[in-house]
């Protein structure tokens, strides 16, 4: 137990009211250079923070197709609600402006920094510096801002002109708004007439509060029904399976495209997409805790089984096979990839 003279205790008390100026506590430890360089990755508009490296749009296109197109589309045009990275030039003063890297982003450093630190979604900080340069070059190319042979590097970085770099002003509310809306407000006879000009219910886009509650028993019924109907079929599929190890290995490679949304194996968790352990041969919509799209729930209720045929058709053209699916993946184009991915998913049965 510490013995405190009363005077010191009083001094300590008075300090709580007015903290001492620039008091040092000697806490923490010095950060090592390696630690700072591991975390201090941000890049500023003048290029400060850019590492050495380079890449062009042709290389970038390949990487983009593999790692980015699932959400952003092959041409950076965006899939579903995922961000569109290209287009929208001269739309900022129109209704519903399209704000892309090309039409809106004022600094190229922002794109490089964001791709480098935060992308791909679900696999951040997995890209090499050259890959980041190449992807950014491809995004610029998709916006018609550079030619396909332009090599983006730490040295050419400041040569790129961003169309909207002068399109921003610093917050001016103090001069444009505050004076207008300050003072004693009207209390009586403030308007002659009040009319309802718009009703939210016309749009009808509010989530249904009862929806979740009523959906729960229905989902449970589906699960039970599906389990009974398909038990026999599942057995068939599983006894049939004699997997080609080479094909499984190829499928594991193809699965990289799926990895940003789906997990497999021990300890797998639902992400953007459900866990895929044991999906092949099983009834659709069965993964616990995953919120499926309504079309998938409906298909599951009708007894959809992810057998090889259905899964292959779905993965070839997801949106054609299941209109309204939440899966934003565009589909696998090669038959070989399809066979491989199905084999791989069979290999991760449990």
């Amino acid at each position: 137990m510490l013995k405190f003279p009363k005077t010191i205790a009083l001094v300590a008390l008075s300090l709580t009211a007015t903290p001492a100026l620039a008091e040092m506590y000697g806490l923490g430890r010095a950060a090592l250079p390696e630690e700072i360089s591991a975390w201090d990755l941000d890049v500023s508009p003048d290029g400060t923070g850019l590492p050495v490296g380079s890449g062009d749009a042709l290389i970038g296109e390949e990487i983009f197709a593999e790692k980015c197109a699932i959400c952003h589309g092959d041409f950076a045009e965006g899939v579903d609600n995922w961000p569109k990275l290209a287009g929208g030039m001269d739309t900022l003063d129109h209704e519903d402006p399209l704000k892309t890297v090309g039409s809106f982003w004022p600094y190229l450093s922002t794109t490089w920094d964001y791709v480098n630190r935060s992308m791909p979604f679900g696999e951040a900080q997995s890209l090499s510096n050259d890959e980041v340069y190449a992807i950014v070059a491809y995004i610029l190319y998709s916006n018609d801002l550079v030619e396909d042979d332009f090599v983006l590097s730490n040295e050419t970085f400041l040569d790129v002109e961003m169309p909207n770099q002068d399109g921003f002003i610093i917050d001016d509310r103090a001069s444009t708004e505050y004076a207008l809306w300050t003072g004693e407000p009207c209390m009586e006879n403030c308007k002659d007439d009040v009319k309802v000009t718009m009703r939210a219910r016309v749009l009808d886009v509010t989530p249904d509060e009862a929806g979740d509650d009523s959906a729960t028993p229905a989902a449970a019924e589906v699960e039970e029904a599906a389990t009974e109907d398909t038990a026999a079929e599942i057995e068939d599929v599983q006894t049939e399976a004699a997997l080609d190890p080479a094909l499984v290995k190829a499928g594991e490679k193809v699965f990289k495209k799926c990895k940003s949304c789906h997990q497999v194996g021990e300890g797998a968790k639902n992400r953007v997409g459900p866990v895929l352990n044991g999906v092949v041969g099983n009834a659709a919509g069965m993964v616990e805790g995953f919120k499926y799209s309504n079309p998938l729930k409906a298909a599951a209720q009708e007894g959809l089984i992810w057998d090889e045929e259905n899964l292959t058709a779905f993965l070839a053209k997801p949106k054609k096979f299941l209109k309204g699916t939440k899966m934003s993946f565009a589909g696998l184009k090669k038959d070989g990839d399809l066979a491989a991915i199905v084999a791989y998913l069979q290999s991760v049965a449990e």
């Binding site: 923490g28 430890r29 500023s44 922002t110 708004e177 207008l180 209390m187 718009m198 989530p207």
Partner: protein, 423 residues
């Protein structure tokens, strides 16, 4: 604050009519007569006879099972998925001002991550004498403070710019919460590292995969920004940045970096994605405002509202709501029942506090006719919450963020309410 309570003028006949409309509802002084004895009183109920749960049943409690609908909700069509997304506080069902952590809105850019205190590190680098690394335990050894602040997402009410869209205060105004934070002033940590007074900014970033990062002017960083680890007395929840988040009083929620891992003193703003391509405000001429950090004064009636209709017929009615301002304390809230023709000043539950939610009540007598309910906040700067028309006149229709317009609920004779716009 002047208190408006209109029952004094009501006749006895008026009271009785009110009671009839309310069915079993009783009105204070002259209670309605019950036809038959209430079995909830005359019969011995199971809970008055048997035994309840022991003290070892619930080591950490959840809300009553009968409050299962008071939960965060999301709007599926709003975002591409639920990982980089947002949900909404059920403000229509809450009262007082403190938001329970368990139903306080969440906004993630790459999901709510699980980060143990033991694995937590906070770095201060850039223009400082000594770049430092702190552990969680280090942070708890600095003198700490307690403050109540609201945190509002800049996009709160953003879906309402183009027109009335969502039926529910939760959805129109629920990107907000208000908690009592415990933490260390950012100033203390900057002084510990010996910040260079030439550095005009601090860049703060989180430990999650989105690396959400924002630039904050040094003046603000030294003023009232808090490195917080407790909220409402207990550890932060995972979804709010456990174990450590930044609290930036009065400024847009995106700057309240969760899972705070690094503070860099810089000469200039970094111009990160979150402060250029997002959280900027496109005006009608296509030019965008940036660095619109402060959340202007705003209010909303939380009940009655579309998710909280009047269920008791005419008679005494409590109209209540929340008001707040990122530029100081709320001084006054007015309520209109006729779409803004006439206004009455509401009662503040207690005097407004800086950058914190203020609860207001209008204790009134409902005559059973329809109402166009609005609330209008004023803060200590004299700023008066504008109408949507006033905002559109200055900013055009293409804004997303910082919509602090007056909200209108059309309450019908049957007590139901809907989200509308009025002339």
């Amino acid at each position: 604050m002047s208190k408006t309570f209109k029952s004094k003028g009501t006749t006895r006949r008026g009271f009785l009519r009110g009671a009839a409309a309310a069915g079993a509802g009783a009105i204070s002084a002259s209670a309605a007569q019950a036809a038959t004895p209430d079995p909830l009183i005359t019969d011995v109920q199971p809970w008055a006879q048997g035994l309840g749960d022991g003290v070892d049943t619930t080591p950490y409690g959840l809300p009553s099972a009968h409050e299962g609908d008071v939960i965060r909700r999301n709007v599926e069509w709003l975002t591409a998925d639920t990982i980089s997304s947002i949900n909404f506080t059920p403000i229509h069902a809450l009262d007082g001002t403190i938001t329970p952590q368990g139903c306080a809105f969440e906004r993630h850019h790459s999901g709510a991550i699980d980060l143990r205190k033991d694995d937590y590190r906070l770095m201060i680098n850039g223009l400082v004498d000594t770049p430092l690394v702190f552990t969680y335990a280090d942070l708890e050894r600095f003198p700490r403070e307690n403050h109540v602040y609201f945190c509002e997402c800049a996009a709160n009410t953003g879906m309402e710019w183009a027109g009335a869209q969502l039926n529910g205060a939760q959805f129109t105004h629920g990107m907000i919460h208000n908690m009592e934070y415990t933490g260390v002033p950012l100033r203390t940590l900057l002084e510990e590292a010996g910040y260079d007074t030439a550095g005009k900014w601090v860049y703060v970033e989180g430990a999650d995969a989105s690396s959400n990062g924002r630039s904050i002017p040094m003046d603000k960083a030294l003023d009232d920004v808090l490195v917080a680890f407790k909220a409402n007395g207990e550890a932060l929840r995972k979804e709010h940045g456990y174990p450590v988040r930044l609290v930036v009083p009065g400024w847009e929620g995106n700057m309240w970096i969760k899972w705070l891992r690094r503070i860099e003193v810089t000469n200039a703003a970094v111009e990160s994605r979150e402060e250029t391509s997002k959280y900027t405000d496109v005006l009608a001429n296509g030019v965008a405002r940036k660095w619109t950090w402060e959340m202007d004064a705003k209010s909303v009636v939380t009940s009655p509202s579309p998710q909280a209709p009047i269920t008791h017929g005419k008679g005494p009615l409590v109209i209540t709501g929340l008001a707040w301002s990122g530029r100081g304390a709320i001084k006054r809230v007015d309520v209109s029942k006729d779409g803004g023709k006439t206004w009455e000043t509401a009662r503040l539950a207690k005097p407004g506090e800086k950058m914190a939610l203020t609860r207001f009540y209008l204790d009134t007598e409902w005559d059973g006719t329809d109402m166009l309910l609005q609330s209008r906040a004023m803060d200590e700067t004299g700023y008066v919450q504008p109408t949507k028309t006033q905002l559109r006149d200055v900013r055009g229709l293409n804004s997303i963020y910082h919509n602090n317009c007056i909200q209108t609920w059309w309450v019908h004779e049957n007590g139901e309410a809907e989200n509308v716009e009025v002339s």
